[in-house]
């Protein structure tokens, strides 16, 4: 069986600056994969490349065995890859409810959307309280929850989650990770980009370590957690 997602020898960049220099990543169905690395390693660009927001200059992205690299982003969403971009990127002047509805933009099954809305409110009760409030008036943690919930409204087979812990209180990060784990148990695969490497590796099944545009290590998450080099460079021990 082919992996759910296979990124093969992927090159991409911004103008003359090449950021991704031949990376290869695989995500199996139902797996949580963490992508860790320092600032500027190319983690966010990797997610952007997969979701179609960044065009590759070389290499392939296979989704369930089919090439999707170079497709426009809106078509990739329809295939079940939802991207919760870095820095939350919620719609500030739309209400919480409307933000969530926008997450289901690629779907047309109205009844199921309504049920998924209720589900989001169960997963994040604070969003239910704030449903009529403009997204921009939420606190940072609430905005991040909204961003995750919004991505989930697309019913992803694979969720691309970019830096969900950025600038948040540890308690809220725990809450978001809990939801991710719960949805993963129900079958959703996750590719998680995180600077908080320890938390990410504790959540994930497997991990990749990225350095200046290349994958330098990959292993089971527990193995990476105990690896001396990873500990020194990213876990601060």
């Amino acid at each position: 069986m082919p992996p759910l997602l296979a990124v093969e020898d992927f090159y991409a960049g911004y103008g003359p600056i090449e950021v991704l220099k031949g990376i290869s990543i695989e995500v199996q169905p139902g797996e949580i994969v963490a992508l860790i690395g320092s600032n500027g390693a190319g983690k966010t660009s990797t997610l952007m490349g997969i979701s179609g927001c960044l065009r590759p200059s070389r290499g392939r992205v296979l989704w369930q065995g089919r090439e999707i690299q170079g497709l426009p982003a809106h078509e990739i969403v329809c295939r079940g890859i939802c991207h919760a971009p870095e820095g939350r990127k919620i719609f500030p002047r739309l209400t919480v409810l409307e933000n969530l509805q926008m997450g289901a933009f690629s779907r047309r099954d109205t009844k199921q959307i309504e049920r998924d809305l209720q589900r989001s409110f169960e997963l994040f009760p604070v969003l239910a309280q704030r449903r009529g409030q403009a997204g921009g008036t939420l606190s940072g943690g609430e905005q991040q929850m909204l961003a995750v919930a919004r991505a989930l409204m697309g019913r992803p087979t694979l969720l691309l989650l970019d830096e969900p812990s950025l600038g948040l209180a540890p308690l809220i990060v725990v809450k978001i990770f809990e939801v991710v784990r719960q949805l993963n148990r129900e079958g959703m695969a996750v590719l998680l980009v995180e600077q908080a490497a320890r938390m990410a590796l504790k959540l994930a099944h497997r991990g990749y370590v990225m350095e200046i545009g290349r994958i330098t290590m990959t292993d089971r998450a527990e193995a990476l957690l105990t690896d001396k080099r990873v500990q020194d460079a990213y876990l601060g021990e």
Binding site: A73, L94, E98, F105, G132
Partner: protein
């Protein structure tokens, strides 16, 4: 997603509409106001309706989709000139009003797409500069293509629409003469009718998938793309609709004026004034846009000339001192009003209701607080 329609969303809309429909039929207020001001308010209202269509078109591009378009007047002019070419006796087409209206709208929309397709990937200021440039290029083209556009003279006479024969009797009951040049009320109802159609169309679009996609792109283009929105196509559709409505307004303008007017009627100032209308009323708000047009165009076309007349009538200014002519202060007042607005009510006089409506529907929150926070 609620499918609220116009009457429910604007409970007052029916009242204002009834007022506008009744005004010319009552005859007396028009005559009384004319004696008072020496301006046909009915005729000025007709122009306000036309500019309202133009502003609503601009609001689709700038208000909903957040694309700063500084050349809307060019599309207004293109609509007017397409109508001119298609209807004046100097040309062999003379297709009649309905066909001219459709073709002006479609033509302006098409040109909007042609301008938008290569430039819409530009953002913010850059797009503004391109549209501004296009506006000026259009104006100079209209002026210099003398063989086609008659240069600064403009094309005329644009004939009035043909009245369907069945309307003659009901019109005579209402005391309206079936001659467009004798009775302003025919143009008045034509423009009002089209404006109502446009408002209904936009009210429904606002709540449609497309309307939501426009707003999502305004709020955050990257996030919108991540939601599965085809940003390029959605932006282009906003551009096409906005420019098309401007073309429709242009057709009405030329027909009402019986001339395309000169190219200078479609200059940068016109674009800016329309932009001021929607900013004053509240970007992205239908009601706000309409209010903005009434206030600004009303000020420009009615209040300023009336005050000029008063000053002249009072004989304060026998030597024609330019400082004592109200019109010369117009732009200054305009500017100060906008600055004051930006300081104290940046969201506009009647901001978009979407947020407020959701509040009422789900969780009551103090409204003022939310508006401040935005």
């Amino acid at each position: 997603m609620s499918n609220t329609t116009a009457p429910k969303r604007f409970p007052m809309a029916w009242f204002y509409l009834a007022l506008l429909v009744a005004y010319p039929l009552l005859v007396y207020p028009e005559n009384a106001l004319f004696r008072l001001t020496e301006i046909s308010i009915g005729m000025q209202l007709t122009y306000i309706f036309i500019y309202a269509i133009l502003a609503l078109g601009l609001n689709v591009v700038v208000g909903y989709t957040g694309l700063l378009h500084l050349g809307i007047a060019a599309f207004f002019g293109i609509g007017a000139y397409i109508t001119g070419i298609l209807t004046v006796p100097a040309y062999p087409f003379q297709v009649g009003f309905i066909a001219a209206l459709v073709l002006s709208t479609a033509g302006a929309a098409l040109l909007g797409v042609l301008l938008g397709a290569p430039t819409l990937r530009l953002r913010g200021d850059y797009l503004a500069i391109v549209t501004l440039g296009f506006g000026e290029v259009t104006r100079f083209t209209l002026r210099n293509l003398e063989e086609i556009t008659a240069g600064t003279r403009g094309l005329n006479p644009v004939p009035p629409p043909q009245l369907p024969g069945v309307l003659a009797t009901p019109l005579s009951w209402l005391g309206i003469q079936p001659d467009w040049s004798l009775d302003y009320r025919l143009f008045y109802y034509l423009a009002l009718g089209l404006l109502v159609l446009v408002v209904v169309l936009l009210t429904n679009l606002e709540r449609s998938r497309l309307g939501r996609a426009w707003v999502a792109i305004r709020e955050d283009e990257l996030a919108a793309t991540c939601m599965g929105i085809n940003a390029a196509r959605v932006k282009l559709s906003a551009f096409a609709l906005g420019c098309g409505l401007a073309g429709m307004a242009g057709c009405l303008y030329a027909t009402t004026l019986t001339s395309t007017a000169g190219p200078d009627a479609f200059d940068f100032n016109r674009s800016i004034i329309m932009l001021c209308c929607i900013i004053l009323g509240g970007l992205g708000s239908l009601r706000g846009t309409l209010l903005g047009v009434v206030l600004l165009i009303g000020f420009d076309n009615v209040a300023a000339p009336v005050l000029d007349g008063l000053i002249q009538g009072a004989n304060i200014n026998p030597n024609g001192n330019p400082l004592l002519t109200f019109s010369n202060w117009k732009l200054l007042i305009f500017g100060v009003a906008l600055i004051v607005m930006m300081r104290f009510r940046p969201e506009g006089l009647l901001p978009s209701r979407v947020v407020e409506e959701e509040l009422v529907g789900y969780a009551p929150q103090p409204r003022g607080k939310l508006l401040r926070a935005r």
